[in-house]
């Protein structure tokens, strides 16, 4: 890690956080868009997607492990929530009992997730802004 990189370490951490929240928002948008998709390439209805975060760990010069932000946001599928079985005798994807399996996406839950992702994104932005302000104020001192 070079000198300037070390100086902007906080900025890079929040940058990875922003990217991760962005991925989360993208995934939520996809979930909402596919809330009524009853047939996918894998067969069966659309399965709700989730984002799994992992910290980025770096080994420091003294052998200590340091967390320097988020490594990546992994997209996984939600197998815990069952599909919704809805009665619809006209649906093209209905089964023999006129039941259709709807995606396990709940609009309420997605909206709540969206709000939390948005707030987390804003929190990262606030951290970023404060870091910038701190650096600017410190540089002003040199004048």
């Amino acid at each position: 890690m070079s000198g300037l990189d070390k100086l902007f370490a906080g900025m890079r951490s929040t940058s990875t956080g922003l990217s991760a929240e962005r991925v989360r928002m993208d995934v939520i948008a996809e979930n909402i868009a596919n809330a009524r998709t009853t047939k996918t390439a894998q067969g069966g209805p659309y399965r709700r997607q989730l984002v799994k975060f992992e910290p980025m760990v770096q080994k420091a010069a003294n052998g200590q492990m340091l967390t320097v932000g988020l490594k990546r946001a992994e997209v996984v599928q939600d197998f815990a929530t069952p599909f919704d079985q809805v009665f619809d005798e006209t649906h093209p994807h209905r089964d023999d009992n006129n039941m259709v399996a709807m995606p396990n996406v709940s609009a309420t839950r997605e909206m709540a997730d969206l709000v939390s992702a948005m707030r987390a994104y804003e929190a990262n932005l606030a951290a970023q802004e404060n870091f910038t302000r701190m650096a600017e104020r410190a540089l002003q001192m040199a004048r």
Binding site: S2, G3, L4, L7, F8, M11, S15, L18, S19, R22, L125, Q128, T132, A135, E136, L139, A142, R143
Partner: protein, 132 residues
């Protein structure tokens, strides 16, 4: 009346002195490690004694080397943000905040370099103004 004003002045002076003392105490408190001098030494930042050895002239090339290395890094940052418009047009930029952060980073590092340069020029001028 005059005494009253004088008394007020004395009080103000005392207040200023007290404020100064308080400020020094807070500064000592902010420095990591708790009590003043020790805390500042712990960061290794000031290097008050090390600065004196620079007079011998042994630090000269080392400083220039460090300066050019730092400038190269700043240059790298600025170049990275110069490439941003091109990258955006190519569709290589995935996030808005990446652009903003890169711009801010190069801005901050450039201003940092500018301050270092200003200080250097100032000290050079001071030396040149010295009467021999």
């Amino acid at each position: 009346m005059v005494n009253g004003i004088g008394g007020g002045g004395g009080m103000a002076r005392e207040a200023i002195a007290a404020a100064l003392r308080a400020q020094q105490q807070t500064a000592a408190g902010i420095a990591p490690g708790g009590n003043g001098q020790q805390g500042i030494n712990a960061t290794g930042g000031l290097g008050l004694t090390d600065g004196v050895s620079g007079v011998k002239g042994t630090e000269g090339p080392n400083f220039a080397e460090k300066l050019s290395k730092g400038l190269a890094e700043v240059n790298q940052q600025v170049n990275a943000s110069d490439k941003l418009p091109e990258q955006m047009l190519n569709g290589d930029v995935n996030n808005f905040h990446d652009v903003a952060i890169q711009l801010k980073q190069s801005d901050l590092s450039f201003r940092f370099a500018l301050q270092v340069r200003n200080k250097l020029i100032d000290s050079y001028r001071e030396v040149m103004r010295m009467s021999v």
